[in-house]
């Protein structure tokens, strides 16, 4: 995907620092003021660590009421009657709301971010277990819950369909019978690439391989669940909603559309948010119910989900059934890739991704490889499960694509008996081929895949582990060794607006910088942090571009009344888009600062130079005649040049010319216990390349967290359903999150290949580790058993799953074989 963009700024290459891990060049390139490349401590941590964060559930307002949602125990059922009278009769219950009440205010349905329409409270038919059926508003949250238990709902239970394949069966129950033109559970078909050319390549190929794989349903499970405090002010005719939102402005527009309240009378505030991972991009019925209740009752209303409500009803991730094929020469040069996907979207199409890409950026299934022909097809189905699909640090389905191609490449390596590192090397897009257009039409900005792989191989001591692996096979050891590689490429940073929009709004982003008379500054951004460290990273960009000290810049985000319009934080887009906007806005400020400097230094503006190293402006050829940004700020307000506006500020709305393509190579070494199927991590190497690095420490934190989530994906997590549509993995006793004990030490490294089109040469990084690590882990486990013919193991690879693979391959061991006891004294030893 490419687009010509006139206003795309040139990447500023002045601070493209050394391309290796040495801390030295990085520490210095920020010039000691906390600019680019410095490991500045996170500004937000003081309040988090001292317990002074302000999350939605911390917000208390006078006369605030509490909302509890009555949810369906059934996955598919007609609601025949709702009797709230027993709840209403309770002392502290203020109201019971049903779809009927919402219909009166035209609030019964809401648009999903994929243009579907979802019931706020079930109008006629329940379509997934835990769907919102009624709401009880009470003076405290305990009573609200007691009241919810007293609401009697009469259900006519219908046959559910949980599996996407079953849902497409002609006999399957029709889930969306309220839609006029919907005759089955089919949502859409999508195709990409060139089918004929790909078939031709496959027909002529020396070798083809095929593998089925399932990317299981996951849940992002942020530590803070979703919630809102809605406050309708009848005096101001204004609705203020504090809510757990990753995209406050987009949510304001949608709120206004749903409620009919004009947008300038809606204020969305996203306060501190305890993790999002994509789970807080969609709109949920709870938000709308709280707002509707506040509007009707003219009192603030708080709604905060319980953990199991979060897992069972809010945006899930993945749930792709994939078949992938590769065609290659006998030397292992990949010529073609084919993929067919069945996607389970749940009961509503609510995947929250750019409208033009029904399968998100799954198009990147050609990965890091130069493949002549590619073809992908995908079918999406409704099922009686919670809606969602795009979440959990996945860049709109890049995760599934990366898993597919990185697994397939390993299957091919096994087939041809070529080392998995070598087969990758033979197929990488060469570093001099960028910008590179893939067979599915996407324009990769920059990359040097071989370099990242080489570095990872060296860090992992790859050859040593290969030898050790062989030794264990020969000795029939109880623990097998497996080595897995993933050399992934991501695609992050949506827009461009021409191609990417959310519910019609182009995916640009924004920054607004105001320098105060005393020389410090406030940066307001259209993106919103849920833990990524924006308040630090974005301040560093300004520090770098204006020569200010990072401590003198505060970053505001998340309040639609004060921040410029933006599309929010997800899909690793903050740095690629709002980071670019920040750099461009800072450069505008710098330009204006120049004219003030000229005025103050009594020189011509053309003669004023800015020195990145010192952060000062000086007269060309006369470094002594210099002035700092602090002095300039004073000048802007106290002695502004005639003919110019006073003040020192600038705004930029940035529409990126392209996305950015971060990449990396991960190498995982595992031990597989042949007696139990348990998997232990021996070594975990992660080499990432996200272009120029703003704060290496924050990047490291993002990598660590994302790798933990990748391990969780590969080893533990899955939202499971039984045949009746009951969620069986709907709480933390059954939906398994890893603890620190399950996470090994990581050896992280990096290379630096700047993005040529981004103003500071940066790419997104938040999702790389979650996207890149699951295939490395699965490749490692499969690699341990591959000598006995195992070609695939499905995630999550719990001990029983791995043991079944061992057993099938004849590799399972019993313990006794290798133990002997020595007896003392008269009785002699076991050997006699």
């Amino acid at each position: 995907m490419s687009s010509d963009h006139e206003n795309a700024p040139e990447a500023d290459t002045e601070y493209q620092h050394a391309e290796d891990d040495g801390p030295q060049p990085e520490k210095h390139c920020g010039h000691g003021r906390g600019g680019m490349g410095e490991e500045v401590s996170r500004k937000e941590d003081k309040r988090f660590i001292t317990g002074r964060g302000n999350y939605v559930d911390d917000i208390k307002k006078p006369d605030m009421l509490h909302c509890e949602i009555v949810r369906s125990p059934h996955a598919h059922a007609r609601v025949k009657d709702i009797d709230g009278s027993r709840a209403e009769a309770m002392d502290d219950v203020v109201a019971v709301l049903t779809a009927e009440d919402l219909l009166e205010h035209d609030l019964a349905t809401m648009p999903t971010l994929m243009d579907d329409t979802q019931d706020v409270l079930v109008n006629e038919k329940v379509k997934f277990q835990s769907q919102e059926v009624a709401a009880v508003i009470a003076t405290d949250r305990y009573t609200a819950k007691d009241g919810a238990e007293k609401v009697e709902v009469d259900y006519e239970v219908l046959d559910p369909v949980v599996d996407a394949q079953d849902a497409l069966d002609a006999e399957a129950p029709l889930i969306r019978d309220e839609l006029d033109d919907q005759e089955d559970n089919h949502i859409f078909d999508w195709e990409t690439g060139d089918k004929d050319a790909t078939e031709a390549v496959f027909d002529a190929a020396d070798v083809t391989i095929e593998e089925d794989m399932n990317y299981q349903r996951l849940h992002p499970a942020p530590i803070e669940t979703c919630g809102a405090v809605a406050d309708w002010d009848p005096g101001m005719d204004k609705m203020t909603v504090h809510m757990t939102s990753q995209a406050p402005h987009a949510h304001r527009t949608l709120f206004s559309q749903v409620s009919g309240i004009p947008e300038h009378k809606v204020r969305i505030v996203s306060p501190d948010v305890g993790g999002g991972f994509g789970n807080k991009v969609p709109i949920y019925p709870g938000y709308v119910v709280a707002a509707a209740a506040s509007f009707v009752l003219e009192q603030p209303v708080k709604w905060v989900e319980e953990r199991s409500e979060n897992i069972q009803s809010t945006g899930f991730a993945r749930d792709y059934d994939m078949t992938g094929e590769l065609a290659a020469t006998e030397d292992g040069v990949i010529e073609g890739v084919k993929v067919d996907v069945l996607a389970n979207h749940g009961a509503y199409n609510a995947a929250a991704q750019p409208t033009k890409f029904p399968a998100g950026f799954f198009n990147i299934f050609t990965g890091s490889y130069d493949i002549e022909a590619a073809y992908g097809s995908l079918t999406a189905a409704f099922t009686n499960t919670a809606p969602g699909g795009v979440a959990y640090r996945c860049s709109f389905r890049v995760t599934e694509a990366v898993y597919l191609i990185e697994r397939l490449v390993n299957v091919l390596a096994d087939e041809l008996d070529v080392d998995p590192a070598e087969i990758r090397r033979r197929n990488f897009i060469p570093s001099d081929a960028f910008p590179y257009e893939s067979a599915t039409g996407w324009n990769y900005d920059s990359g040097d895949y071989e370099k990242a792989l080489d570095k990872a191989l060296e860090m992992a001591d790859y050859e040593h582990y290969r030898e050790e692996q062989q030794r264990r096979i020969e000795n029939d050891a109880d623990k097998l060794l497996g080595i897995g590689i993933s050399s992934f490429t991501e695609i992050v940073g949506a827009g461009p607006g021409e191609q990417c929009d959310i519910a019609g709004i182009e995916m640009f982003d924004s920054a607004d910088i105001r320098v105060n008379p005393t020389g410090n500054a406030v940066l307001r951004i259209g993106v919103q942090t849920q833990g990524q460290g924006h308040e630090t990273t974005f301040a560093q960009i300004v520090a770098e571009e204006l020569g200010m000290d990072v401590d003198n810049i505060s970053v505001e985000h998340g309040d639609t009344d004060t921040e410029p319009y933006g599309l929010g934080t997800y899909g690793s887009r903050s740095t690629p888009v709002a980071g670019a906007a920040t750099a461009v806005a800072a450069r505008k400020v710098r330009d204006k600062a120049k004219s003030i400097a000229a005025n103050e230094l009594e020189a011509a503006e053309e003669d004023i130079e800015w020195d990145r190293e010192s952060g000062e402006f000086h007269v060309a050829g006369a470094p002594d005649r210099s002035i700092t940004i602090t002095e300039i700020a004073a000048g802007a307000y106290m002695n502004h040049p005639g003919g110019e506006e006073p003040g020192l500020e600038a705004t930029n709305y940035y529409d990126p010319p392209e996305m950015t393509y971060p990449f990396g190579s991960y190498i995982v070494v595992v031990e597989v216990d042949r007696e139990t199927g348990e998997v232990d991590f021996e070594k975990f190497v992660a080499v990432d390349d996200c272009g120029n690095r703003i704060n290496p420490m924050i990047i490291e934190g993002q990598i660590h967290g994302g790798l933990a989530q990748g391990i969780a994906t590969a080893m533990l997590e899955e939202v499971t359903y039984d045949d009746n549509g009951n969620v069986t993995g709907g709480d933390f006793m059954n939906y398994l999150l890893p603890t620190a004990n399950e996470i090994p030490n990581f050896d992280t490294g990096h290379t630096v290949t700047p993005s040529p089109h981004h103003p500071i040469g940066a790419k997104g990084v938040g999702e790389s580790p979650t996207v890149g690590s699951p295939p490395a882990i699965v490749n490692a486990v499969v690699d341990a058993m591959n000598h006995a013919g195992v070609s695939h193991v499905e995630m999550p690879m719990t001990p029983d799953v791995v043991w079944a693979a061992l057993d099938d391959a004849g590799l399972a061991h019993k313990p006794a074989q290798n133990v002997e006891f020595e007896f003392d004294g008269a009785s002699g030893s076991a050997d006699d």
Partner: protein, 295 residues
């Protein structure tokens, strides 16, 4: 936690607690709350009256006395984990304590509460069975001693009466040539067992197994003993082959169900594996030297 409303009583003596249990209507005992509170939160338990025993200081002990290791009703999992009494001599206790749940749960949850909960996936029941343990209960009619063997009836159901309070669980102090161990297979920290096996061996002077006990977790409707395997072990000298046979017998005696932790066949196989591992460790702790012969 948004439980249904309940009345909360805080007795400070066992007598007071017992008389509350007798006089109140349908009381539920609260100790560490690590099983009860989740049930209140899901409203699976909706007691009208809760008798909170955390204020009964006399129940907070873990010591050896009169030939028993005695664990009072307020001894937390973490107390066992941290106790200087709990070393190789009480091998299975030392093994299990850090494997129950996670540190937060272990700081509050009690051994006695865990036994009272009678969850077949709970670890302590197997330890108690393997050690010929006893449950001491106080009720309106005084004190009663229930052998662990007779305590567990069904999942979450025991021979304890509604009006009874467990004051203590105890096991005999180990014989000179005794060794015990616990092996648990779980998917992650804080996860209940996929399967678990406690083993205890007492050897005579000729290294012959005098007493053998195997307690199994999560593979039957209650924590259960593997009596066929025990009988097979007794009178023999430890060997790999013997333990392999015992592991096989224990697996046959187990009755696991297929669930999200794995299918029944896998769990049976794991009983076999874990029993062999636990027996190996128990034999070692009873004084034998264990050697790995290959790799």
């Amino acid at each position: 936690m948004k439980s249904a409303p309940f009345e909360h009583h805080e007795p400070t003596t066992v007598d007071e607690a017992v008389s509350l249990l007798e006089s109140l209507d349908g009381p539920t005992i609260l100790s560490g709350g690590q099983s009860l509170v989740p049930m209140l939160r899901f409203r699976l338990a909706n007691p009208d009256v809760v008798v909170d025993i955390n204020g009964i200081d006399s129940l907070d002990y873990l010591h050896e006395e009169d030939g028993y290791l005695r664990i009072g009703a307020l001894a937390r999992h973490a107390d066992v984990e941290d106790s200087s009494l709990i070393d190789e001599t009480y091998g299975s206790f030392a093994d299990v304590a850090p494997l129950v749940a996670d540190p937060q749960v272990r700081n509050r949850g009690t051994v006695v509460g865990s036994v009272a909960q009678a969850d077949p996936k709970g670890d302590w029941g197997s330890i108690l069975l393997a050690h010929d343990g006893e449950v001491i209960a106080r009720g309106p009619d005084g004190e009663r001693t229930i052998p662990a063997d007779e305590f567990f009836l069904l999942p979450y159901d025991t021979t304890l009466d509604d009006t009874e309070l467990i004051t203590e669980v105890r096991v005999p102090t180990p014989a000179p040539r005794e060794g015990s161990a616990y092996h648990k297979l779980k998917r992650k920290t804080g996860d209940y067992a996929m399967a678990g096996v406690a083993a205890r061996l007492v050897l005579d002077d000729d290294d012959v197994i005098e007493t053998a006990r195997l307690g199994m977790t999560a593979v039957d409707i209650t924590n259960a003993r593997a009596t066929d395997a025990e009988a097979h072990l007794e009178g023999e000298r430890p060997s790999s082959e013997l333990f392999e046979e015992a592991g096989g017998l224990a697996a046959e005696e187990s009755n696991p169900e297929s669930d999200e932790h794995g299918d029944a066949g896998y769990k049976e196989r794991m009983v076999d594996v874990l029993a062999q591992r636990a027996l190996g460790d128990a034999a070692e702790r009873a004084g034998l030297v264990k050697r790995r012969v290959s790799q």
